[in-house]
Amino acid sequence: MTSLEQVIAEHSVVICAGSGGVGKTTTAAALALHGAQQGRRTIVLTIDPARRLADALGLRELGNEARTVDVVARGSLSAMMLDQKGAWDALVERYAPTPDVRQRILGNRFYQHLSQSFAGSQEYMAVEQLYELHHGGRYDLIIVDTPPTRQALDFLDAPQRVGDFLDRKIVRWFVKPYFAAGWATLRVMNRTVGALFRRLEDATGLSALAEISDFFTSMSGLFDGFGERVQRVNRLLRSKRTAFVLIASPEEQVLTEAEEFCRKVSGLSVSLRAVVFNRVHRESGLDPRAYAEDWLRELAARVLKSAERAAAYGGNFLRYETLARGDNLRIEAFLRQLRARSRLATVMVPNFDEDLHDLDGLRRMIPFLVGAD
């Protein structure tokens, strides 16, 4: 079976997927640091790093620029924060035929909504950014931290979803004069249905529709190359050089979502190559039948010369054993299911005694991810 270290070595794009709150950002940054240590020109594309990690990566200021991180490594490490609004704006700037059109789009309220809140737009912009970085050729390893979603697959669907959204056949309906064709069809179908739509419009906002229409009119030239772009981005996500790594933790709900992810991903032609479990409580390996709490207490008391403190240490150890047993059972069950279908590298990162989010923290994590070296 391959190790996560091999997976990193053999791919030029590594996408870290998983539910929110499992340490995705930190894991992505640690894998990138490892890449740089291995002599590769590495960049980590991150979404919302903790402040101290952002500090460590030199990402205090927002913006779409790559920044070089000052680390001692054979390769190099850069980091880039995904700013989705900025990325959409950059896309418009690049493709708008005239400054006039550009201004009209950037000032359009629907565009402003869209670039901030359209479902999947953040995911799409991450993919778009990834494509740009890959295309630019300045890096030979790109690690991507995906946006925090509960449904991690959104990331994969996003290009198609945004593509469908900008589908020209349907967009035509929205282009001025307002829905002329659409309304006419509806009227033929049934006059009352037309009235219904007006009601719907009233319930949600005529002005919004006018803005949408205006937006699509302005954007119409931009869509011509869009379908092809979505295709190219999709090809990159499914390329042999791209690996997906699922980040999880041993919590029941996280593993349920992770299972769902694995099930769905097997039907898509992307290559899921590894699973990382963060914050795993480790079992001591002591056979619980071979000792009792009293025995632990006595053992500790002989060292500490205090029955009371010894009891606290013994009790704490047993409580952590309980946690570890639960983590182990859940991970085992998860892996049993998974192994029936595929062969993945799996790594377990233990629960440390602190929150990890600076370069030292990343260094502490790396040996567990890729084996001590």
């Binding site: 919590e251 606290a312 309980t322």
Partner: protein, 326 residues
């Protein structure tokens, strides 16, 4: 606000970063509310049926209500379904509606209109919170608890009504949105509660969300600090246990000593991290803080939710007045 007043609201929103235990806190609040004699509706939105899972009942269909525990009813709200339901109330001709729901432009419209699904979801929750029972004239529920999605997304839900109200200067939408805004900003009826764990990322996000709520003039409730470790161990003692390992011959004793030291270090580490970040929360977030201990259990299930509910029973005092509204 005084935590004791929590159960006298009509609507409790439970928000926070992903993975900090929002659903757990929402379920525990529901159980405790029901124990105090309230009829509770617990709403969730993201289709994962987390509340049903935690309360150990089969998930109800989207839009329908199921009693998960005596006095606790759960409902999965879906914006698209809520819009369909709303249109059904406005336009009661089924055949016409079906034609609308079948049309492509409708689906496109629903997907494209920014915030529409969020607005409809909040509308549905408002309808449940303020809805009146036909016969008696009393409210359908004594309290509605909304297990909101992760921070950024829940802010979208909370902002939508005001955005919709401002986008329309008059008319039906303006009036309906205004009613939603009134409920969401009324401290007598609503409390937005936050859940955090006392660690770097969740704390930053919580402080950010608190500031946004303040800017939006939303009434805040209780800040629940979840999974708090509270046992400190002296470094010197840990070191003594660790160095005693070398003096032992028997393998079992060596492992046990090393493990007792390592787990104590782990617990002490998190206790210190939690204390530090809890202090930062207390300093930057002006909300009453209720601490929920970390539970050392093999698996997190209904028993653990009940344990947290019992903890809330002690931490959130009863008002002395009857909490059930007529």
């Amino acid at each position: 606000m005084n935590p004791a007043d929590l159960f006298r609201r009509r609507l409790l929103v439970v928000a926070g970063k992903g993975g900090v235990g929002k659903t757990t806190v929402a379920c525990a609040l529901a159980l405790e509310g029901a124990r105090r004699g309230l009829r509770i509706l617990l709403c969730e939105v993201d289709g994962l049926a987390g509340t049903a899972h935690l309360l150990h009942v089969p998930p109800p269909d989207v839009g329908s209500v199921a009693e998960a525990s005596p006095g606790v009813f759960i409902m999965r709200v879906d914006g698209r379904a809520a819009l369909a339901e709303y249109l059904g109330m406005v336009v009661p001709v089924r055949r016409l509606l079906d034609a609308v729901f079948r049309s492509r432009i409708y689906h496109y419209f629903v997907a494209a209109a920014p915030g529409l699904k969020e607005l409809m979801t909040i509308g549905k929750i408002w309808y449940e919170a303020e809805g009146v029972q036909d016969a008696s004239g009393g409210h359908k529920w004594d309290l509605v608890i909304f297990d909101a999605p992760a921070t950024g997304h829940s802010l979208q839900y909370l902002r939508m009504p005001a955005a919709a109200r401002d986008a329309f200067s008059a008319g039906l939408v303006h009036r309906e949105a205004q009613r939603l805004v009134e409920l969401l900003t009324d401290p007598a009826r609503t409390a937005i509660n936050l859940v955090a764990t006392a660690e770097e990322l969740p704390v930053n996000e919580t402080i950010g969300m608190y500031r946004q709520l303040r800017d939006l003039r939303m009434p805040t409730g209780v800040l629940f600090v979840n999974r708090v470790h509270t046992t400190d161990f002296a470094d010197a003692d840990i070191e003594r246990l660790r160095s005693a390992v070398a003096r032992r011959r028997e393998e079992r004793e060596r492992v046990a000593l090393a493990e007792m030291a390592a787990r104590a270090r782990e617990e002490a580490g998190w206790t210190r991290v939690n204390a530090r970040y809890r202090a930062r929360l207390a300093e930057q977030v002006e909300m009453p803080l209720v601490q929920i201990p970390f539970l050392f259990s093999e698996e997190f299930s209904l028993a653990e939710v009940r344990e947290i509910a019992a903890h809330l029973r002690r931490e959130v005092p009863a008002t002395g007045r009857r909490e059930r509204r007529a």
